[in-house]
Symmetry: C2
Subunit: 332 residues, 2 copies
Amino acid sequence: MSLLQLAQSLNLSKSTVSRALNGYADVSPATRERVIKAAKEMGYRPNPLATRLAKGKTHAIATILPLSSSHTFITPAFSQLLAGACDELSRYDYQLLVSSLPESVRELDLYQNYIDGGMADGLFVMRTQKQDARIQLLQERKFPVICHGSVDKNVPISTIDTDNYQAFYHITEHYLQQGLDKIALFDGPQPLTLSQQRCAGFMGAMHAYEQPMIQHWMQYLQLSEDAGYQAAHNILQEKERPQAILCANDTMAIGVISACKKVGLRVGQDIFVSGYGNYDQGRYCSPPLTTISYDAYAVGKMMASMMMAQLSNPDTEIQHKVVETQLIVRDS
Amino acid sequence: MSLLQLAQSLNLSKSTVSRALNGYADVSPATRERVIKAAKEMGYRPNPLATRLAKGKTHAIATILPLSSSHTFITPAFSQLLAGACDELSRYDYQLLVSSLPESVRELDLYQNYIDGGMADGLFVMRTQKQDARIQLLQERKFPVICHGSVDKNVPISTIDTDNYQAFYHITEHYLQQGLDKIALFDGPQPLTLSQQRCAGFMGAMHAYEQPMIQHWMQYLQLSEDAGYQAAHNILQEKERPQAILCANDTMAIGVISACKKVGLRVGQDIFVSGYGNYDQGRYCSPPLTTISYDAYAVGKMMASMMMAQLSNPDTEIQHKVVETQLIVRDS
DNA sequence: TTGTAAGCGTTATCAG
DNA sequence: CTGATAACGCTTACAA
């Protein structure tokens, strides 16, 4: 059932029917009613492909999964974020296009594809980096983007992120106030802006409390259990060991806890460990993990609505949203 | 840069250029080479919307997230599955369309939308039910579908699922062989085919070992921690209590373990608990959870390739793939 | 208020 | 082998 068929069955032209259906003003109430009624009866559905071709909009926002080759898959936080984005987009009749990065494809090529491929009206970029080639590319081409993670001040792209600095300042302070001042930081991969902010938060607190920092206790690691295990295992061999280890996410913290147990330390007594993200795995590990929590679903929704705002009005002001985090103190 | 522009710059017609680019035979090698070279130089990219409109194919497969209103979000298994599907689809230049079910929308309406909305060439249906209205709808309209979960024998739709019967037969047998014969089954929601198969597997083993089953120890529950906790808490009040509780997934099992601890039972000694899915949360809970594992990423890939097969040839035989599971015995 | 006709960027059918 | 020309189904000036 196409627009043409519907129009013919009503003895009207395609344009009139189109206008009636799309709520344009210049169509008589009587006609409009007739059209709408017929459309409903005959079960007419506009072909979205045709609409989009005509309008030059795809009504889709794409995001590239940070996964699969590394076999780490989606973190719980990311899947909540996806759900939030999905829900919000659907309110605007937009779709979420999820694509993965196949082994054989270079990441930038995939972005390039989206830029001049016309498959999406905008892109969500996750986990920004300090000198992010993706951002640079997208911005040069003026492709609509919302980032999860910061970008350079002079780059006119809207972003959203948790308050990484504040979160790590806070948790550092938490341990310091308990008299634990020998603290290690197992940060995320160095290029990520979130890692740098967390590091800054940690150092900020250490400075404020006039605590010395031990260089090789501050490490940039992969966000994996294994990386956490290895690094902790190494450090804990030394004569002097930290009283607390702050990890960049819960997964890494789980690995650190294993290493602590391995060398006979009681987590929550001899040594303390914290994570980030408030994943299930941390809630149920032993001892339950002290962590930093935030509402990833809400972040996803926000990314979607920021995107919609930008698409509907390209002059929308750039904004950098900062999301509150919450320290969840458990037994670790 | 459109096809027309490219053609003009080469003094050729659109059709010739199109044919050259799409690898049709009836174009001279010289021309083809010239066209391909120019296309590359000028950075020509076909507009996918136009291609799809002309071809009548969207090159997208949709799936509807089982989530968000319930705020349970995506299970780890499901996100791995998504990643697998995504990866495989991309090899065929297909996209994965992820949509959620907004609060205000009826599930069937959303499916209806996909059927006559022309937004996707096929649909992945997850967690089939016994009398599944979605399946019925899709099948009536002959919409291409691959199901995760069984369907009625006479319904001509391809499916893939883990071997639920076998898995639960096996784990039941595992406990029985250890002399634990008072076993409870906390199954998933009754309408799900997977619940019924697991129940059958459990009963099969109990029969084979000539063990009586206790009716009210066999319950259909939500796949949530809370449901597990409540149900276990109730049952454990009674004078006679089970020696083992088989749960429909790891999340539920976590709840059951909490309840056991609450009433002072030592899991792994006084009572045993198992899950399904091999989620992280089970690997790290205390004691580590005995569970049933399978390769969800591979399942996703398979669903994608089954879909591709069906789309490329509608006469492809219906198949029902069964995926092996693996019993992972830990301390619970 | 309605209709005509020209796009949107491809593919596909037929002549030549 | 190549080129018109008509789809695909919709939107949108511009006329009437």
